[in-house]
Amino acid sequence: MEATSTCPSYSARDYKSEVKPVWCPGCGDYSVLGSITKALAELSIPPERVALVSGIGCSSRLPAYTNVFGFHGVHGRALPIATGIKVSRPELTVIASGGDGDGFSIGGNHFMHACRRNVDMTYIVMDNEVYGMTKGQASPTTAPDWEKSKLTPQGTGINPFHPLVIALAAGANFIARGFSGDQNGTAKLITEAIRHPGFSFVQLLSPCVTFRPEQRDWKDMVHPAAVDPTDDPARAARRLMSDDGFNVGVLFRGSRKPFQPGQPASVDSVADLEKEFVL
């Protein structure tokens, strides 16, 4: 997917739609949208060669804000839908995006099996440790003693989910963590995730300024990973188990062969596609 002399060049703006986001002012997801469009511009992938699939939630509104192929899917099911797209059209760059509720709670099962299946796609989770769209309930990544949710006013009392460790254990081929406040750094992570073969998982710490205003402090807490990424799962596991959750960078680069059944599709250009629709 490297830019070549035959590809036109694109700017981030070429991937944005006219639809104005309805996110709260200050939401981290604005910046993530910018990072994704910057990454696509950096890779010079024509918008019609990208499919962006989401589930349900604040961050899952993202496909409408781009002008690539997008689908606002079923709650928690972005990954199976993305798998179907990639398997039937392997030449597309497929990105699934959503939040921690969509991906780890109602869709937690699919997260594990998408890592295991290792289809060549990128999964971007905007993690704000809260269900934002239903107005502030604890998610699987919420600390057990967070008492601000009306649904769990005494805290959840249950152990938070550790998405990176689970991704590694389940077989994800690329694992990274970023921070929405660093738009360029996050764009680089997403670029690398898309380039890396197989299932790439990128956790983006993306503050919810409405229901988790304390997350504004994340900008002072994130720090670059102190070590280079490893391709050794055991080493990555030791690092991930002991990290503080604010370690930003590529944390694991695997070498598993991606899953892709069948033959590549025959259609390979917009011109060919348009021929099929000539009336």
Partner: protein, 418 residues
């Protein structure tokens, strides 16, 4: 609950002044749940249901309700958790809507097969796609073949009262079926209204002895496995299967008289503010030549339109369906006795018949009437669209026209831009 208390003397004179409150439909549902004293609730937020389960969480956290609460990872888990709870003898409750109900469908269907007396509020929301978080009846209507009892409410008070009654209904030995209390998303869920809180001690007496899972023998000397795989056609599998289905249908049929007796008992205990038609409400029908039929919160605006039409000399009445499942065939036959034209307003779509689901169910009742009644399907209020008094005047006008001409095979799409 085998015994009903129809022989209880009216207590009007001794009744203390009711506690008055102002609350939303979702809050009323939660207060009704608390009055019924469930042992376990499982929750997952979804618009427009969220404030209901948040209120339950608060009641529990504040010590006003003694129930275990499980904050599950999705609706499928919510209902599965409750199945476990009910099998273990707990009185159980949850609420959901729209896509959440769709996600629940696998355990939803099994709940009635296992005769588990769960109560679940559906804060009705239209079916997606297209994506919408707004009200409509498509969610509840879509699951109407799954063996649950479904009652639709018109007002916030009816939400509260029906919620309490739902537990006694579900657990009644002649019924033993799960119950949905349906309240319109947005209109009733967030609509604020004055209510009278029933007295807890009187509710406790109404509910009687808690006896949730009498059909599952919790005998420590004789553990039993519930719902093992039934065999194929070579064995007794199909026979067992038919026995289950017939039992479910019998429970449904019994529910009609249990619902009626229960509503009467409830009104007798708590007063006229708590009197609701159990199956079918007949409004200004006595000398009506034609009638319109409604479900849920739209009924308020429809009654206003009927009143205005009556004032203008129209002989129009209204039929409100409260209990949709089991379908109140006899009660509806009674309501339709003098009606010569009928307009049925649905907030959902029956794709098979190109009409509204309540309209299609009513056709069966018209057949049983044994006379031709021209009937027209109206579909409106989809995805939160308003059904106003003006809308119902149109329904009344088009229904009156059926006295002169044949109805259309096409539904009338209210709120449509042609």
């Amino acid at each position: 609950m085998n015994t009903t208390t129809l022989d209880t003397a009216p207590t009007t004179e001794k009744r203390p002044a009711p506690q008055l409150m102002l609350c939303e439909g979702n809050e009323a549902a939660a207060l009704g749940v608390a009055l019924a004293r469930p042992d376990m609730v499982a929750v997952y937020p979804i618009t427009p249901q969220t404030s209901l389960v948040e209120k339950l969480a608060k009641l529990i956290a504040d010590g006003r309700m003694d129930a275990d609460i499980v904050d599950a990872e999705g609706e499928h888990s919510v209902l599965s958790v409750l199945q476990g709870g009910a099998l273990a003898g707990a009185r159980t409750y949850t609420a959901t809507c729209g896509p959440g109900l769709a996600f629940m469908f696998e355990p939803y269907f099994r709940t009635s097969g296992m005769r588990l007396p769960l109560v679940m509020t559906i804060v009705t929301r239209d079916g997606i796609t297209p994506q919408s978080v707004w009200g409509g009846h498509q969610d509840a209507m879509t699951v109407r073949e799954a063996g649950w009892i479904q009652m639709y409410c018109e007002t916030v008070q009816e939400v509260l009262d029906t919620t309490v009654m739902a537990f006694r209904l579900a657990e009644h030995h002649d019924v033993m079926l799960p119950v949905n209390v349906c309240l319109d998303g947005n209109y009733l869920s967030y609509g604020t209204s004055r209510i009278e809180m029933p007295d807890q001690a009187e509710v406790d007496d109404f509910m009687g002895h808690k006896d949730v899972n009498w059909h599952v023998a919790l005998d420590p000397l004789r553990p039993m496995a519930v719902d093992p795989l039934t065999g194929g056609s070579g064995g007794n599998g199909p026979e067992t299967f038919v026995r289950y289905r017939r039992g479910q249908c019998a429970g449904m049929k019994n529910a009609l008289h249990v619902i009626t007796e229960m509503h009467e008992d409830w009104a007798r205990r708590f007063g006229e503010a708590h009197r609701f038609a159990p199956l079918v409400e007949e409004y200004r029908l006595d000398d009506a030549e034609y009638a319109i039929m409604t479900l849920g919160s739209m009924t308020g605006a429809a009654k206003d339109a009927v009143d205005e039409a009556r004032a203008a000399g129209e002989k129009v009445g209204l039929i409100k369906i409260k209990t949709f499942s089991p379908f109140p065939v006899e009660a509806l036959q009674h309501a339709l006795r003098g009606v010569r034209a009928l307009g049925v307003v649905d907030r959902s779509v029956n794709f098979r018949w190109n009409c509204g689901p309540m309209f299609q169910e009513t056709l069966g009742v018209l057949y049983r009437l044994g006379r031709q009644v021209p009937a027209q399907s109206f579909i409106g209020g989809l995805a939160g669209a308003d059904l106003t008094v003006t809308t119902f005047h149109r329904v009344i006008d088009e229904t009156r026209a059926l006295l002169e001409r044949a109805p259309s095979d096409e539904p009338v799409w209210l709120n449509a831009k042609d």
